[in-house]
């Protein structure tokens, strides 16, 4: 059974920013058997292609966008994508994940992973329209905020393109900068700064392909039960009502809330930052990511 019949696209896009060359390659079926989801795939490429002691900001540091076999299907939260690279904040393995609408579009464009190598001399945007891949200059949006950059890229390429962009902090190599798809962020470990060091302002991507699962009837049944579990889960109810920050109070109580650069583990005004406080004071509307019942 081929990988394409069971959730994968069996294709990796390799982009070299130094030479501006792009190529595609297939996944290794023997290796795929050992890897779990997009996270495993990203870790595999980072492990395979990192050089020892390479600086996270050097062109040798590979940067991988990944999606998993469930991405693009009706499985809950199947629009998420991950980024894997060496972190400028911790100087070690970094994986960060992001909701929104980029993940499934990358899958429908036909890619399980996009491996970014090298570094560009000038700011660029990568434009992927299914099989066709090209670079566009990004001097005009270099320095723009993520919201402004997203708006301009969608204006330029069309609303059916999904984007990921970095903002001014990432351009200035801040080790806490993220990567944004619309208002959603892959925020961990300073992944944005790695793209900043490569002068890749963003990716605009369109996908009109398909994702195939091996046993559609069995898949549907499992997906339906998974959604039911989410609808009947105490934890998901808290997520719906108060967002990811619903655990902030617990974290603070446990003394694990980094405060003043972790000189302390508890913040005296944490009750103003809990999910409860947020949802009460600031929420106006629940908006969902692709295929996600948690909002």
């Amino acid at each position: 059974m081929s990988l394409k019949d069971r959730g994968y696209e069996d294709k990796v896009l390799r982009v070299n920013l130094t030479t501006k060359r792009c190529s595609t390659e297939n996944l290794d079926p023997d290796v795929m058997r050992l890897l779990l989801g997009g996270k495993g795939l990203g870790a595999y490429y980072l492990y395979k292609e990192s050089k020892p002691l390479a600086d996270p900001f050097s062109p040798e540091n590979p940067f991988v966008f990944v999606v998993g076999p469930l991405t693009g299907t009706s499985a809950p939260t199947a629009g998420r994508f991950g980024v894997v690279t060496k972190s400028p904040a911790t100087k070690t393995f970094l994986d960060s994940y992001c909701g929104g609408f980029f993940g499934q579009t990358m899958k429908f464009a036909g890619y399980d992973a996009i491996v970014i190598e090298g570094a560009s001399a000038e700011p660029v945007v990568l434009v992927v329209d299914n099989e066709s891949v090209r670079f566009e200059g990004a001097a005009d949006i270099w320095g723009c905020t993520t919201a402004e950059s997203t708006k301009r890229l969608k204006g330029k390429f069309g609303a059916d393109f999904q984007t990921v962009v970095i903002g001014p902090a990432a351009e200035r190599l801040s080790p806490i900068s993220g990567i944004f798809n619309d208002e959603r962020t892959a925020g961990r470990g300073g992944a944005g700064a790695v793209l900043g060091s490569k002068r890749l302002k963003g990716i605009a991507l369109r996908g009109t392909g398909t994702v195939q699962v091996h046993n559609p009837a069995g898949f549907d049944e499992a997906a339906w039960i998974a959604y039911r579990m989410l609808r009947m889960s105490n934890q998901i109810k808290r997520m719906n009502d108060h967002g990811t920050a619903n655990i902030l109070g617990l974290v603070n109580a446990a003394g694990a809330l980094p405060t003043r650069n972790y000189q302390e583990g508890q913040f005296e005004r944490s009750n103003e930052m809990t999910g409860e406080a947020w949802s009460k004071e600031y929420w106006t509307r629940s908006i969902g990511c692709y295929g996600c019942p948690i909002y």
Binding site: G72, T73, S74, F101, Q104, T105, F108, D182, E183, G207, T208, G209, T210, V211, Q212, V213, P216, D220, I225, Y227, R228, M229, R231, M232, S233, N234, I236, K237, G249, L250, N252, A253, A254, S270, N271, T274, E276, T284, R285, S286, I287, G288, C289, Y290, G291, C292, P293, Y295
Partner: protein, 425 residues
């Protein structure tokens, strides 16, 4: 032996002697939640539960004292008493800063079997936690054994509720731990179990078979869709469960009486979920969007695509979500769905596109000339041509619209057909 007889008599009060099954309602939530409507209005809700035909109601000892009248009379439900509690949610759900780390958990008996018997209980229910620290598990076993001993002496049935929570429990091993904990609880002395569903029939059947005592399945958080709890009950019954102990899915339901009656229909009368709620399939009607509920997650589009094709894509859906972006405001979205306006029927000169006898659009493929007139004919732009130049249009999934079934916030609902105001879904 009189003691065994005592247990049998009381279990027979809980489990319907005709079919050996029971529909129970858990209403011991005053323990664990902040005062929510289902806790404050408990008496009114429980009256409805009783009139719905519940076989048993689980309450704390304090509530049993205050609401004893609910359990009076020949046909009143059996009283089940929650006899233990622990100090996890010390001051309710909103004061999380006061919660304890798992290592400080203490579980305490809050009642004893004898007191429960004196207020007329048919059984007591206690927790059995598995997955925390070794010490905590040891205390749990000891306490459960103490309760079992006490219950045996006076002939009161013991219902144990195993809970797999803690650092050692993961999504991978939770089912295995639950199955093991069920058997451990029985070995300790449980006469029946209250236990969460394992989410598939096969593993739950294993749990039921290995337990060897009557198993009652619990519900969990309240779902917005009453079908969820009923489907769960139906699956558990197929796996051999002897009934249900639903809490919030009943006490927070819009109509607790109907919810209990629906569960009874499944448990005692062998009805199917579709028979109870009306089938999701083959209902006449038309789609109606409720934009205020839409979160823009596109799950309706995914469900639409997947119903009509085994593959997934994000282009061939027959409805769509439209977004509106305003500066500095959250994204707005609304579903654009086929309202069965029949403009496409008018646009088709060949008479190939018609409203079929079942009330949804059908295409006569022999008559269709692939002229494409229906495409601009749809004022909402919901019709396109596929690779064979045949129109792709909303056929209401042949009467069972998947967008309605999958949309959690009910942003797409099935409205009655034109001119029919009675058949509201």
């Amino acid at each position: 032996m009189p003691i065994v007889a005592g247990k049998t008599v009381r279990l027979n009060r809980l489990f319907n002697p005709k079919d050996g099954r029971a529909v129970c309602v858990a209403a011991d939530h005053g323990w664990m939640s902040d005062p929510t409507p289902n806790v404050i209005e408990l008496k009114r809700i429980l009256r409805e539960v009783v009139s719905g035909g519940a076989d048993g109601i689980l309450v704390s000892f304090g509530t049993a004292l205050r609401m004893g009248s609910l359990f009076e009379g020949k046909n009143a439900p059996a009283l089940l008493i929650r006899a233990d509690w622990m100090n996890l949610p010390r001051l309710g759900g909103s004061n999380v800063s006061n919660v304890l780390p798992a290592v400080n958990f203490k579980k305490k008996a809050t009642s004893c079997a004898k007191d429960a018997l004196l207020v007329g209980a048919s059984a007591i229910t206690i927790y059995y936690f598995i997955g925390y620290s070794d010490e905590f598990e040891a205390i749990n076993i000891e306490q459960a054994a103490d309760f079992a001993k006490e219950c045996r002496k006076i002939g009161l049935p013991l219902i144990i509720e195993p809970m797999a929570v803690g650092a050692g429990v993961t999504g991978v091993n939770v089912t295995e731990i639950l199955i093991a904990s069920a058997r451990i609880a029985v070995e300790i002395g449980a006469d029946a179990l209250k236990i969460p569903y394992t989410n598939d029939v096969r593993s739950f059947k294993k749990l039921v078979d290995e337990a060897g005592v009557p198993v009652l399945v619990l519900g969990g958080a309240k779902s917005d869709d009453p079908r969820d709890a009923l489907e769960l009950a139906d699956e558990a019954l197929r796996a051999g469960a002897r009934g249900t102990v639903f809490g919030r899915n009943v006490t927070k339901a819009k109509d607790p009486r109907k919810m209990v009656a629906d569960v009874c229909a499944l448990v005692h009368h062998g009805r199917s979920v579709d028979e109870v709620l009306g089938a999701r399939v083959k209902q006449r009607g038309r789609l109606r969007p409720i934009a205020a509920n839409c979160t823009g997650c596109q799950l309706c589009e995914i469900a639409c695509v997947h119903y009509h094709s085994s593959a997934f894509d994000q282009d061939s859906h027959r409805l769509r979500i439209e977004y509106k972006f305003r500066p500095d405001e959250p994204r707005l979205s609304k579903p654009i769905v086929c309202p069965l306006c029949e403009k496409c029927v008018e646009a088709c000169n060949e008479g190939a596109l018609t409203i079929g006898p079942e009330g949804y659009l059908v295409l006569d493929r022999g008559r269709c000339t692939s002229c494409g007139d229906c495409v601009p004919g749809c004022p909402l732009g919901l019709i396109s041509l596929d690779s064979n130049a045949m129109p792709v249009f909303c056929d209401l999934c042949e009467g069972s619209p998947q967008c309605v079934a999958w949309c959690k916030p009910h942003a797409i609902v099935l409205a009655p057909p034109k001119g029919d105001r009675k058949n509201v879904s």
